[in-house]
């Protein structure tokens, strides 16, 4: 049993045994049998296939398209271009909030990046539509593209991330550096990366008058409804979005994108349902990416290795037509104690698609640089990297001075180091070899991610047969929400899980906010928990006011809900079932609603973050420079864990992304054309199974009474941070070569 501590607004206690259980995924049978339906699996009657034609230039305009040739291809029904696409009520270039991004939906003939949609071919078969797109043979007027962080004029953005200041300062960094006994000053480069969810972006769109039905993967259905409603001039409630399963999101499916709108427009144009699915190469442009960064980090310590100053100046890139600035500098705000701290951001505008939130946006790119720099600083001080981090442990949040709502980072360091065997590590590099003569290196990094909450709603219903129903428009992109939220719902209603029906994954249900920022579980769980609380409170009132009930008059002490029964708190032997209460009251059901949002007072008072420590072993071939991450051990503290199985899998996934960040991913752009030359999955490397032979995640216990009633912090993104730097640090430890440009290449080690 787990007792849930309530905040002030719920009247009565609930007890359940679902939360904390490592249940297997409830959608498991559907997924392993191929029965789970993803967007592109749908085939409404009369459906046509739409394929995007995309630009092969990075900058300029489309002069002409051979529409006749495309339409002459057997099976092609229509070609949609800027000249004939149905009008939009709203402006795709409007920017009413930092969460709204400009998109290309054939509003003109301008080209702003390679792979930008320039036409849509609609046909009876996928083969015809695909060939039709090829036959358009676009003619362009091309201009020289702006490529690379030195490729355009630098500007200072008004804000970074979502509305964060682009620069901050605390204490006097120059004085701190000047007074330091030891200093480091280095520049780190991180590459452009693409989300590459396994499921390509897709939409199946059907119009019925002014009602729109969509099957499309979405991390934010309600927000999508709102945006689409404005764009199409229809009511949000008339847009029905089904997203029961996403084949991965990682931030690329959070906001409405151009291809989705084009699919809807195509359906409007031909008056029939249309399915539009991106080809893999088309995933490298219109649906976001992580921009490259260059980070100049300077640090100073006193004679005992305590920081006197930390500074990170970041240059990154955005598109020429919209702003998304990867806030790489901000990770230094939360981690290491220092009397002086300064971070700043500048950017260039390049002929690329607009960057977008990509798993740990800012934190991932900032962390690999910061953790590398910390190790370089530790080395300069002659200290072990873990000892150095412990020396500079922040008891309060460095940038703000606020106490942490909870911070079990010391336990993470201790448990992770013990499991890994860290303390056997020689301090000097290039000291370890295995039996085959491969170089061995051990590195570590600190992981951190803010414990965010957005706003979400849920509805709970108890039915006269004693079963419960919880409904919320939440999103499962693999993080296990369908299982973990059901567990929260069951406990929230004091029901066993097999008496609980959980409905989600459609916009026809209460707005559950966006699945992003690792905030979804915290947000939706709170909403569900409150909705359940409201239901139980109503149920209890019915019983306590009814003299036929064993709970009559229990109002002063209250009741406890457990296993489908309400018990008097002052005499738990006296109880009755929910069904008995409802039937006697002549009700078929009672309903309650709940909203999960951050508590502004708590957020003001505390710094709220999840933490972790990651330890990596790499083996490096001493002559070839080929690297393999042979052991990865991460220990993470993220508050209450609803389902340890789901959480462990999230940690594994993020750790693999961290290995990928340090060693593999890189979108390579040709400087002359501005095109990405590895827009595929053969040459853009993500790790394969053999790349990560050993992963371990330790779930460190942590209780946080401040973040939300259930004490949940998010886990979806944290494990990239810490891991990427740990890999980089391990490579240094193996080889003695400090690589500051990522991903680490063979030549970086061979030519050193």
């Amino acid at each position: 049993m787990s007792d849930i501590a309530l905040t002030s607004d719920a009247a009565h206690l609930r007890q359940g045994s679902s939360i904390g259980q490592p249940l297997t995924r409830r959608d498991g049978p559907l997924k392993v049998t191929g029965a789970a339906r993803y967007a592109a699996d749908n085939h409404p009657d009369g459906m046509l296939f739409a394929v995007l034609a995309v630009s092969s230039i990075a900058r300029g305009r489309v002069l002409g398209l051979d529409v006749a040739a495309a339409k002459a291809h057997p099976g092609v029904v229509e070609v949609m271009t800027s000249t004939n696409r149905p009008p939009l009520a709203g402006d795709p270039e409007a920017k009413d909030s930092p969460f709204m991004f400009r998109m290309e939906v054939l509003q003109n003939d301008l080209v702003r990046y390679p792979q930008q949609p320039i036409a849509v071919v609609i046909a009876k078969t996928l083969e015809a539509a695909t060939e039709g797109a090829f036959l358009l043979t676009p003619r362009y007027e091309a201009q020289m593209p702006r490529v690379g962080l030195d490729g355009a004029e630098v500007f200072v953005p008004d804000s970074v991330g979502v509305g964060k200041p682009s620069a901050m300062q605390h204490g006097d960094v120059e004085a701190g550096l000047g007074a330091a006994s030891c200093r480091m000053d280095a520049t780190y480069d991180t590459p452009a990366q693409y989300h590459n969810a396994m499921e390509p972006h897709a939409i199946v769109a059907s119009w019925n008058g002014d009602t729109l039905s969509l099957d499309t993967p979405s991390q934010g259905m309600a927000m999508a409804q709102a945006r689409l409603a404005t764009l199409f001039g229809i009511r949000p409630g008339d847009i029905h979005i089904r997203s029961p399963f996403l084949g991965g999101g990682f931030g690329s499916k959070g906001l409405v994108n151009g291809p989705q709108v084009l699919g809807i427009l195509a359906a409007r144009l031909v008056g029939r349902p249309v399915k539009l699915v991106l080809r893999r190469e088309q995933m490298y442009g219109p649906v976001g990416h992580r921009a490259p960064t260059r980070q100049v980090i300077r640090m100073g310590t006193d004679a005992e290795g305590g920081f006197t100053a930390i500074a990170n100046h970041v240059r990154t890139a955005t598109s020429t037509y919209d702003d998304f600035i990867e806030p790489a500098g901000d990770v230094a705000h939360t981690l290491y104690a220092t009397p002086a701290l300064a971070t700043s951001h500048e950017a260039v505008r390049l002929d690329t698609g607009t960057p977008m939130f990509m798993r740990a946006p800012g934190e991932a790119s900032g962390s690999i640089a910061l953790e590398s720099a910390v190790d370089e600083m530790a080395e300069a001080c002659g200290m072990d990297p873990l000892a150095f981090r412990l020396k500079n442990y922040a008891e309060v949040e460095p940038a703000s001075g606020k106490p942490f709502s909870s911070k079990a980072l010391r336990e993470c360091y201790a448990q992770g180091a013990a499991r890994f065997g860290w303390w056997e590590r020689p301090v000097r590099p290039r000291q370890m070899r295995d039996a085959d003569g491969l170089l061995v290196g051990w590195g570590m990094g600190t992981a951190t991610f803010p414990a965010l909450m957005f706003a979400g709603n849920a509805r709970a219903t108890l039915r006269a047969d004693g079963t419960g129903l919880v409904e919320t428009g939440a999103h499962d992109m693999g993080q296990g929400a369908w299982t973990a939220l059901a567990q929260v719902a069951a406990d929230g209603l004091g029901l066993p899980l097999d008496r609980l029906e959980f409905r989600s994954g459609t916009s026809d249900l209460p707005d559950a906010g966006i699945a992003g920022g690792s905030a979804h579980m915290a947000t939706v769980s709170t909403a569900i928990h409150k909705a359940g609380g409201e239901v139980i409170a109503r149920l209890a009132e019915l019983a306590m006011g009814d003299e036929r009930s064993p709970l009559f008059g229990a109002g002063n002490m209250g009741v406890i809900a457990r296993g489908g029964r309400l018990h008097r708190l002052d005499d738990e032997g006296r109880s009755e079932t929910y069904a008995e209460i409802l039937v006697r009251a002549g009700l078929s059901e009672i309903e309650g609603n709940g909203t999960g949002t951050a508590d502004p007072a708590a957020q003001n008072a505390f710094a709220m973050h999840a933490h972790g420590a990651v330890f990596v072993e790499v083996k490096v071939d001493p002559e070839f420079g080929q690297i393999r991450a042979t052991r990865v051990v991460g220990a993470f503290a993220a508050g209450r864990v609803i389902n340890p199985r789901m959480v462990r899998s999230q940690y594994y996934g993020g750790m693999i992304w961290g290995v990928s960040f340090a060693l593999h991913e890189h979108a390579v752009t040709d400087r002359r054309s501005g095109r990405i030359m590895n827009a595929n999955l053969a040459e853009y490397h993500v790790p394969v199974n053999a790349d990560v032979p050993s992963l371990e995640a330790i779930l460190v216990e942590e209780h946080d009474p401040h973040v939300n009633p259930l004490g949940i912090k998010g886990v979806g993104e944290i494990s990239i941070t810490g891991t990427a730097g740990a890999v980089a640090n391990a490579v240094w430890h193996a080889t003695g070569v400090r690589v500051r440009r990522f991903p680490i290449t063979l030549e970086a080690l061979i030519e050193a």
């Binding site: 029965a35 699996d41 083969e127 893999r280 999955l681 992963l695």
Partner: protein, 164 residues
């Protein structure tokens, strides 16, 4: 031009009329037969999400022309469970959390079934990892996948393993 091919699809004989030689086995399954369990991740043989068993061998369906498969036997994820009972590999994937978003999962499972029938990897985790490296998983479920394959193998009889 209409071409006709005979396939044994998940154990059942089918005669399929094709009016287009360009149709891949993957698109035949997904868009014409509406067997959507097999997924398209890249369409270029680079991710393994479209893995099916073709004449008992794991194969990327996206690089197979349907018109060239007259007389072939195809097993897809839909054909794996027997009489409502999950195949041991499917069951093991659930138990070891060998998936998250589930999109690569049908391909992983078919690839695992094929790997076990090939009989080369044995119970060596490194050989299993190498053997499964043709199936990308962006969610990073590799640890659970490898455990699931090893566990399923240990539980399966020789007949079950060879029956690909």
């Amino acid at each position: 031009m209409t071409l006709s091919i005979s396939l044994t699809l998940n154990g059942t004989s089918e005669v399929i009329a094709l009016e287009d030689p360009r149709v891949t086995l993957l698109d035949l399954l997904r868009e014409r037969l509406h067997l959507t369990g097999t997924k398209k991740g890249c369409d270029r043989g680079q991710c393994g999400a479209c893995t099916v068993l073709l004449d008992g061998r794991r194969t990327n369906a996206c690089l197979v022309l349907a018109v060239a498969q007259d007389g072939a036997a195809v097993t897809t994820i839909e054909g794996l469970a027997m009489g409502g009972q999950l195949h041991p590999v499917q069951q093991a994937f659930i138990e070891h959390d060998g998936f998250q978003c589930g999109f690569c999962t049908p391909g992983q499972i078919m690839s695992a079934v094929g790997l076990l029938a090939e009989g080369q990897a044995g119970d060596d985790p490194e050989r299993v990892r190498e053997g499964m490296s043709g199936n990308l998983c962006r969610c990073g479920a590799y640890a659970g996948i490898t455990e699931a394959v090893l566990d399923a193998q240990a539980r399966m009889t020789d007949d079950q393993r060879d029956a690909a």
